[in-house]
Subunit: 130 residues, 2 copies
């Protein structure tokens, strides 16, 4: 698969795919003519990257994360440094905080919408029965 197709299937621009590669998030093999060649599995990886970026993680963290999130997970974990574990634990905590904050705010919006919409429908009913 070439870059255009991958872009099409992931909704990530060619430019960004090259950027991700530059940032070490994905790799590609090259055809004889120099064109990037991707495998089917790249689709999922790119979607995952997209999700993480969209969730607000910077590329340098994603870069550390990716090898760990890769399924199928090798049970035999070779080169995991203690610093890496600390980093992951730290990032896990940050994710939890983020999730909490987002959830709080989403719920607040939900409450607000509930209120607004119920008032609106009450008005509609009042108009209908007047």
């Amino acid at each position: 698969m070439r870059i255009g197709r991958l872009a099409e299937r992931t909704g990530v621009s060619r430019r960004l795919l090259r950027y991700y590669e530059e940032q070490g998030l994905i790799t590609s093999s090259r055809a004889l003519n120099g064109y990037r060649e991707y495998k089917e599995s790249h689709v999922d990886v790119v979607l995952q990257i997209k999700g993480l970026l969209d969730a607000g993680l910077p590329t340098r963290i994603i870069q550390q994360l990716l090898p760990c999130l890769d399924k199928p997970q090798t049970i035999y974990v070779p080169n995991v440094t203690p610093e890496m574990i600390v980093t992951l634990q730290h990032e896990q905590a940050r994710l939890s905080e983020r999730i909490e904050s987002l959830t709080r705010n989403r719920d607040a919006i939900a409450d607000y919408l509930d209120t607004v919409l119920s008032v609106k429908s009450a008005n509609t009913e009042r108009r209908a029965t007047s």
Copy 2:
């Protein structure tokens, strides 16, 4: 309260507080000498802004959100346009997506850490009993 104190109490730099004001996220009154003056309630607002920004929302969305998230909520909702409602519903959906993505990834990290740590402890035990 002046800007330095607010910065200190929220963990948000003076520079950013001014930036938030410039972006219309907060307001301040001015003392005779031109210094910004904040009320106690600004602490919570700033923390909320910080949370939303940290969650990846851009200031222009936060600006729309803030009046709605404001507690105590006026039950009497005056100037809420249909577009506003649509924006909020849209943003609510985006928040949910984000939350989902973050949760998925956090759990993946958790799984990974579990695996790694259990292998590590198994090794430790093995060493201890050999």
